[in-house]
């Protein structure tokens, strides 16, 4: 197995594939399972006018928060962005466009985009702002709204482990949006905590087959953030 997909660092892994006004997908839920190293490298690249598809927008100074701070994002497609003060400011003064999308619809749009489904129907959002301007159709007595599949020029994902073919596995709830986004990027770049040889991951346990991953960067021991540290007392 060659090392063709392996890049020495995040900057190299993004070299030649970033440009102004492109569409990026970025995995993660809150600060859990976000491709933080790759996001920081996007910041360093200086590209602007980005459309970013991501469930959340990071927090001030972490994750996509840094791209908001640097005003590199012009449009966010997200379900919930409540944790970010800069976001609020840019949104209210019109610097940032936001397409609020129900979380399940967003997840399905990304899955559809990767799977060659240009549109599908869902009951989520029927009769709400979300359905305005969209086709609503009745199937078997119930109304559904048509939603489109989503793809990205580049998808950035975070995985727990990859082999050199790009087969990915995730850890606990850090899986979240990463698997679908890997399938929906024209180019998918994965930052991985552990990089192993092909054959070291049981093929029945692989979540994302390597066909979806074009570039891999090994980021051992990343700093992982906890947004809301909740604990219980030891009696």
């Amino acid at each position: 197995m060659s090392d063709r997909k392996i890049y020495p660092n995040a900057k190299a892994a993004l070299d030649g594939i970033l440009k102004d006004n492109m569409t990026l997908m970025s995995g993660g839920f809150g600060l859990c399972g976000i491709p933080e190293t790759l996001i920081d490298a996007v910041k360093d690249s200086g590209i602007t006018g980005l459309t970013v598809i991501s469930n959340n927008a990071g927090v001030d100074g972490i994750g996509l928060g840094v791209l908001l701070e640097s005003k590199q994002i012009s449009t966010m497609i997200s379900s919930y962005v409540g944790e970010n003060k800069l976001f609020a400011e840019q949104f209210l003064n019109g610097d940032l466009e936001v397409v609020f999308t129900p979380q399940g619809t967003l997840a399905e749009q990304i899955r559809a985009g990767g799977a060659g489904i240009p549109a599908f129907f869902t009951k989520t959002g029927v009769g709400t702002l979300v359905a305005e301007g969209k086709e609503v159709r009745n199937f078997d007595g119930e109304d559904y709204v048509m939603e489109r599949g989503l793809v990205a020029d580049v998808s950035l994902v975070h995985a727990y482990m990859a082999d050199k073919e790009g087969n990915l596995v995730f850890r606990k709830t850090a899986r979240n949006f990463n698997p679908m986004m890997a399938t929906a990027g024209k180019i998918t770049v994965a930052e991985v905590e552990h990089l192993v040889e092909p054959g070291e991951i049981d093929p029945d346990h692989i979540i994302v087959p390597g066909i979806y991953v074009q570039r891999i960067v090994h980021v051992p021991n990343p700093v992982k953030h906890i947004e809301k540290r909740t604990t219980r007392p030891r009696n």
């Binding site: 919930y80 009769g127 709400t128 702002l129 949006f177 679908m180 219980r232 030891r234």
Partner: protein
């Protein structure tokens, strides 16, 4: 002389049935997990991709890779499974979750629910709420009966909707209502008063029209 938050959660817990798969929203709904009747097996789903959610971890055992939909650190149980967000919402939208308990800003007498947006104020987004109310078999709202003295149970919602006609039951600090749907009509029924609350008190705090079936 009304129910406390704990009592509201306790009342909601009486709607649990053995073997139920349940999604709890943040706030009072989260407290419901403290009142699972003895001997009942309930599995909690977290829409970020977990079924079989355990309690908060002991201090020092927090795992950044293990959070609930409210971004709080949680723990794993022997029954736990993890999956992607698309699989999670397939589960929700496909009608596989028995019960969703969540908060609300407004509920209308036809079962409309508003809980995600106040126009002109900062909008945080609907998260998974629209999918949950559209997809889950039974939707229970747990909320204060009024907000700063204004009724939250209305003839019709004036805030943007989260879902149309989706509410099956409302539990407030004053009373419990059931929403009975047959065909296109929904009837809102008062079925229970909180301890020490009178029917007149409920009527004067409620804009919505409801039948009384105490």
């Amino acid at each position: 002389m009304a129910w406390t938050r704990e009592q509201m959660a306790q009342r909601a817990a009486r709607e649990l049935q053995d073997g139920f798969y349940v999604n709890l929203g943040i706030g009072i709904p989260t407290l419901v997990s403290n009142y699972i009747p003895d001997g009942m097996e309930i599995m909690f789903q977290s829409e970020n991709g977990m079924l079989g959610m355990g309690p908060f971890p002991y201090e020092g055992e927090e795992d950044p890779d293990l959070i609930n939909a409210g971004k709080q650190t949680v723990t794993e149980l022997p029954t736990t499974s993890y999956f992607s967000n698309s699989d999670s919402f397939g589960m929700i939208r496909g009608g596989h979750i028995n019960l969703s308990i969540l908060g609300a800003m407004q509920v209308a007498q036809n079962g409309d629910l508003a809980n995600w947006m106040i126009p002109g104020k900062m909008v945080k987004g609907m998260g998974g709420a629209m999918d949950l109310v559209a997809g889950v078999k039974k939707v229970i709202v747990v909320m204060e009966h009024t907000a700063k003295g204004d009724p939250k149970l209305l003839k019709s919602c004036n805030l943007p909707l989260t879902g149309k006609g989706v509410v099956d039951m409302v539990i407030t600090d004053m009373a419990v209502f059931r929403f009975d749907k047959s065909g296109d009509t929904t009837v809102m029924k008062l079925i229970e008063l909180a301890d020490g609350v009178t029917l007149d008190e409920v009527k004067s705090s409620t804009e919505a029209e409801f039948e009384t079936h105490l």
